[in-house]
Subunit: 456 residues, 2 copies
């Protein structure tokens, strides 16, 4: 019996994690605006497709009880919510904690306990935009610990997907963490997150189930430099941040913890992504992965359990919408399209690469390099600052290895129906299930669907 705690913090990464498949396959993308970022605000009509198989659905075959604590972000309309998609329990919200809103124009985001709302952000669930105080992370921690305790007592294998909203802007932390870090409010939020993960780990030890609980910690995107420095982090040496397909947007730290199975303090150079968590979790639970669809995730157990040092030289595909922006193979990354954001946005002061400017790379027009991709060696040049000369032997050697991989990928790709194309004010969280009991139902406006427009 191996239980799981997975903790992550973009929509697309969440869908990828739970399905083991690229967003372009599972539907979490848009075809509206070429290479625009899409996400899941409450105007989005779509959500996770019934054709997709989610991790908790697979784990159920072996008796696992599954709970998500925190942000769902795979669609907020009733059919898309967690309990309709394999989870047994949910405490959290369907969308981001933006707000507070004027309820006649836009509802505040509801917080659910399982299939019914308990309140809304900024109303029953306080977030003080001025002081940055909110005990949300603390609430989410308690919900996680309680779930673990109940399953342990019942001797049931479990899957906890602990997905707190922190450190997303607007940044908040509980009172006892405010002002405590060396890094302003953002640092306080990181500190509380770090503390909370620590509490989960020691709870597993206290309950004596640390040796049979696999814990994986990671993030779903790089630091949002657009919010830095007050409400965003740093991506260290990596280029740009969240909302881009540069390393600062896509590369993440990750920690796997499983006392007695994974040797502490070891570092792996295996290239991995969140989709691997789907396949890896199934392997650990002894469940065969679905064989009627393409899975992008690999089983990482040989690497994690130290039976092998590396898996195959697997490619990583970097998408925006349905456009393949870049491909990584081994230490090399080839950019087929580049752009950070539009000149209009950039001139308004929205900058995903503050202080960074690489000619022909951090472009403000959507620039195609298909005939001659820009290639970086991420080992020597983790910051994507020194393109390899197209005249060099190295460039040609690398391209001749990457090109067939890209060709094969494009030839065999079957895109899913795009879920993030249509918007409608009528689908917003006006009257979530349970609102009647609380007297918190708002009037649903007339449906007027439009093609969503993405600024970035």
């Amino acid at each position: 019996m191996t239980s799981f705690c997975l903790s992550v913090i973009l929509t697309t990464a969440r869908a990828a994690l739970l399905t083991g498949r690229l967003p372009v396959r599972n539907g979490f993308y848009t075809t509206n605006a070429h290479a625009r970022n899409a996400y899941t605000p409450q105007e989005i009509v779509g959500g996770i497709s019934k054709d997709e198989i989610l991790l908790p659905q697979m784990l159920k075959k072996k008796g696992y009880v599954s709970k998500i604590v925190g942000k769902w972000h795979l669609g907020h309309r009733p059919q898309y919510l967690p309990l309709e998609n394999g989870f047994d329990e949910w405490f959290g919200a369907p969308n981001c904690h933006f707000g507070p809103y004027n309820s006649s124009i836009r509802p505040n985001i509801p917080v659910y306990n399982n299939s019914e709302m308990l309140g809304r952000y900024y109303e029953e669930f306080k977030i003080n935009r001025k002081t940055g105080e909110s005990n949300l992370t603390e609430i989410y921690l308690m919900e996680g610990l309680d779930f673990i305790l109940r399953q342990t007592k019942a001797r049931r294998p479990f899957f906890l997907y602990w997905a707190p909203d922190a450190t997303h802007a607007p940044v908040y932390a509980s009172k006892r963490f405010l002002g405590k870090s060396q890094r302003g409010r953002y640092g306080d939020a990181v500190m509380e997150l770090d503390y909370s993960i620590g509490q989960i780990l020691s709870w597993l030890q206290t309950l004596g189930i640390d040796n049979n609980t696999f814990v994986f910690f990671t993030s779903d995107n790089g630091a949002a430099l657009i919010s830095a420095p007050n409400e965003g982090g740093s991506n260290g040496p990596f280029l740009c941040g969240k909302q881009t397909t540069f390393e600062g947007g896509m590369r993440e730290p990750a920690i796997a913890w499983w006392p007695g199975h994974i040797k502490e303090g070891t570092v792996s150079f295996q290239l991995a992504n969140v989709m691997d968590l789907f396949t890896t979790s199934l392997a650990l639970a002894g469940v065969s992965p679905p064989n009627d669809r393409t899975l992008d995730g690999l089983d990482l157990t040989p690497v994690l359990l130290n039976r092998s040092h590396t898996l195959q030289n697997r490619p990583i595909f970097y998408y925006r919408g349905n456009e393949l922006m870049a491909v990584r193979l081994g230490q090399y990354k080839a950019h087929y399209w580049t752009w950070s954001n539009s000149w209009e946005e950039f001139k308004k002061g929205i900058n995903f690469c503050p202080g960074q400017e690489i000619p022909d790379v951090t472009t403000h027009e959507q620039k195609e390099h298909t005939m001659q991709p820009i290639i970086f060696h991420l080992g020597r040049d983790p910051g994507e600052k020194f393109p390899i000369s197209v005249l060099s032997k190295e460039y040609h050697d690398v391209l001749s290895r990457i090109s067939p991989v890209v060709e094969q990928h494009k030839k065999t790709l079957v895109p899913g129906a795009p879920q993030l194309n249509m918007c409608d004010v009528a689908v917003m969280n006006w009257a979530p299930a349970g609102c009647e009991k609380l007297g918190k139902c708002l009037k649903v406006p007339k449906s007027e669907p439009w093609k969503c427009d993405w600024p970035h």
Copy 2:
């Protein structure tokens, strides 16, 4: 009895470490060209002044035997060499391992064993510029281990200043490390350095003196981005690199190791600099610091030994030549002058901030901001990318705290005689002591001194 191993890898930092004083006080600076970087090539006429007191001279009062292994860089003329300035032993070179040179125009740098040369770089001490192979770090390691062994056997307290040339460009590593890292030749050199430090630590353990040997590891400047990616590192989130007074040029990782005294795995937020090693080492050895001069180094022992969490809110002064470029106080840093390098140099492709550009900060003219310093909060903004608005209350509060500190510093500063102003081909390493025995003396050209010109 506490012995010391100090390991560092710029001239000015080396002089500062060994004297506990700012370069502008100890003479390791130039007044020739406003705010230009100066260093110690073999044309330099000057060297460490006899008026300075060096760490090994102070430690001798308590019977310490001192050795420097590696690069000296405090002057290469006979009177400036290590054995004339308090060290009992030396194995290494007076200058950087640039080359190979045509000996009729410029001599290759000599490698000394104590007071006599043993050979020269690229001649007896091989460095293959093509393959990057050289066993210099290995030789320096052996010299260090041998010194430790001899002092341990003789039960003498010792001070080992282990200052390898690696990872300075041209980058080299020993054969067994070449091609072994994920980070090209630079990574191989780092790997060998890391391995070597490990060997020193386990040697101390093997000899049973780990509990009474204080080991400190740090670097004397940030990664040389000008040499990246093939021959230089990354400064993570920090701005620019070596040769600048931005954080990428000045901030360094540092590790203190002393089993039984310093708790392993602890992290300190104390602001410190290499000059503190002078004062700290004296405190550990029980030697009173010189009281006839200003010392900039603080005694870090309260922090290191965990008797106090922080020392006073001490300022850090960032100089170029005799110009005070910036001041750090707590989490704040105020820039009074900015410049990365000149437009001429920059247009030739010499870039100390590749991929980074902060308007008004990474300037290519020497820009004065004395009337309104540019201020960053390095906690929220470690990359110096978001200047604090001069209209904010925070700006005015910070400036009112920093201004009196700067005023006091300037008012009381007594600059030393600048050692890096004059150059002369006649002072180069044509005929170092010991060259006769080896038949390696070169003809000394006519003396033609000139005021040194610094490109950056």
